[in-house]
């Protein structure tokens, strides 16, 4: 039984079996860098004071910016809609810029420059007990007409600027 061919075929069979069984393991990544899905970003009253066009960068690690638009408060995703690179806020240009292929998004998240085919996704924002909660599990896509949804933005009076 202990012929060279026997040993060879046994090794091949075992190796093949381990290899096939290993494929699902290979497909599952070692690191899951999922951002926290539910983030309490603070008092709504505090955000109501902020001047228009302010970009809050404190939650970039969690994957979103908080932007004060004339109509209200939105949480914009930080990943480019072209190939998912992490964007940078360029306050001089007033644009979110992609370092990979040159896409640029305006304050509202609309794709203006470069190859990005669709606007930035807006994360769900709700107000509970006067605090603003961002929920990354629900995203609103402008190109699908979802920005009209009530939870895509916390409506604020435009008079906050004045």
């Amino acid at each position: 039984m202990l012929t060279a061919a026997g040993v060879g075929w046994t090794a091949l069979t075992l190796g093949g079996t381990v290899g096939v069984l290993g494929v699902p393991r290979l497909l599952a990544p070692n690191v899951t860098a999922e951002p926290e899905v539910l983030v309490d970003i603070g008092e709504l009253a505090g955000y109501a004071q902020v001047s228009l066009g302010t970009v809050d960068e404190r939650f970039k690690r969690q994957g979103f910016w908080v932007v004060r638009l004339p109509e209200g408060l939105v949480a914009l995703s930080t990943s480019c809609t072209h190939l998912g690179c992490l964007l940078n806020w360029d306050d001089r240009d007033g644009r979110f810029k992609c370092p990979c292929h040159g896409s640029g998004f305006d304050l509202a998240g609309v794709n203006r420059e470069g190859p990005a085919p669709r606007p930035l996704e807006r994360l769900r924002v709700t107000v509970e007990d006067g605090r603003v909660i961002v929920d990354g599990r629900r995203r609103f896509r402008g190109e699908r007409g979802e920005w009209g949804h009530s939870e895509s933005m916390v409506r604020l009076e435009p008079s906050a600027e004045s």
Binding site: C100, G102, E113, P119, R141
Partner: protein, 372 residues
């Protein structure tokens, strides 16, 4: 002195202006056509040496500029410099041999390669040469890796990404392609079409001439299409992506420092928005409940344009300029060939649309993540 400084500054500014990809590609395309047209003249050793000397002189002079030197002399870029030199050498070598053979063919002589009876046995002649090449290449790589530091970058961070974030040099061309196309098109479809197209070549091109010897006169289409694709669509994007793209992947001239505060690039619009008139892109999207055909109707101009490009143009060409080609190849071969060639032509065509008309996508079925 003042006059000299003025001359050098205007030279720098002129080079920066010329270095826009649209102009670089036009210049290279004209150079390629001229090089193929007068290939018997410039490939003569005396002319070629003059051209090489001129090229090296220009590169040396340009290298005196600290800004450009800083961009070019990065460890990762040495391979690209080597690549440019090798590309020049092998294009010259191929066309030189083609010129020699085409001259011989006109005099009724057999090609240069046919005359020499230089067949030798694989073992030991070829295998020995391969061993020498292997040792020499290994030694070269070892010395290179000892002399030049590996271009490693800081550890990954969730909050910051290198700006610009550049691919390894051999993928910069693909990254540059991604500037003009949707990821699935530039990253998946186009590379697959390239591989399939290259694999299909022996079945499409059954012309026995030019087999085993260099020639241009006997196969002008094959040689020029290959050189155009390789130089203009593969090598040039690598050079543009490496040397002309700075922070935020913005275009910078070779003598412009990579200062992140430059003016914003142009705002782009989809072809459909140009045809139907400007409108807020936020409202451009249809909701999930909207009928499926509505985005298709919106993108009809681009779909018609692409249909004309891929279907009508090959048909018109087969009746006019390429009548002989279609007859020689047969209908099926001609169909495959023309669709592949049109697919290749889509790349510079899309680049031109972007540069000249600020078009983002010809067909933008964003609702279905399908953009061309």
């Amino acid at each position: 002195m003042i006059a000299e400084a003025w001359t050098i500054d205007s030279l720098r500014e002129g080079s920066n202006w010329l270095a826009h990809p649209a102009r670089v590609m036009t210049i290279c395309a004209i150079g390629l056509v001229a090089g193929l047209w007068w290939y018997r003249v410039w490939t003569r050793p005396r002319w070629a040496a003059l051209l090489l000397g001129g090229l090296l002189a220009v590169v040396t002079l340009a290298g005196l500029d600290p800004v450009l030197r800083d961009k070019v002399c990065r460890p990762d870029n040495l391979a690209i410099l080597l690549l440019v030199l090798l590309l020049c050498f092998f294009v010259w070598r191929g066309l030189r041999q083609a010129a020699v053979n085409d001259d011989r063919a006109e005099r009724g002589e057999p090609p240069f390669e046919a005359g020499a009876d230089d067949k030798v046995l694989t073992w030991p002649h070829l295998v020995f040469l391969e061993l020498v090449a292997l040792v020499a290449c290994s030694a070269f790589l070892v010395i290179w890796s000892l002399l030049v530091r590996a271009p490693l970058e800081p550890p990954a961070d969730l909050e910051t990404v290198l700006n610009p974030a550049k691919a390894p040099w051999y993928f910069v061309g693909l990254q540059e392609l991604l500037v003009y196309f949707d990821p699935w098109l530039a990253g998946v479809v186009l590379p697959v079409v390239m591989v399939v197209g290259l694999s299909a070549l022996p079945y499409l091109d059954r012309n026995p001439r030019g087999s085993g010897y260099y020639t241009l006169r006997e196969r002008p289409l094959a040689v020029s299409v290959f050189l155009a694709a390789f130089i203009l669509l593969w090598m040039l994007p690598i050079l543009v992506g490496t040397f002309l793209r700075g922070p935020n992947w913005t275009l910078y001239g070779p003598f412009e420092p990579w200062d992140p505060h430059t003016e914003s690039p142009a705002e782009l619009v989809n072809l459909s928005a140009m045809v139907w008139g400007e409108r807020s892109e936020m409202e451009a999207g249809f909701g999930a409940e909207a009928a499926l055909w509505r985005p298709v109707v919106r993108e009809l101009p681009g779909i018609v344009l692409l249909g004309f490009y891929f279907l009508v143009m090959p048909w018109v060409l087969s009746r006019t300029a390429w009548r002989g080609l279609r007859e020689r190849m047969g209908s099926v071969r001609y169909l495959v060939f023309s669709v592949l060639l049109m697919g290749m032509g889509l790349v510079p065509a899309k680049m031109l649309l972007r540069w000249l008309l600020d078009v983002r996508y010809i067909v933008a079925l964003t609702e279905w993540s399908l953009n061309i």
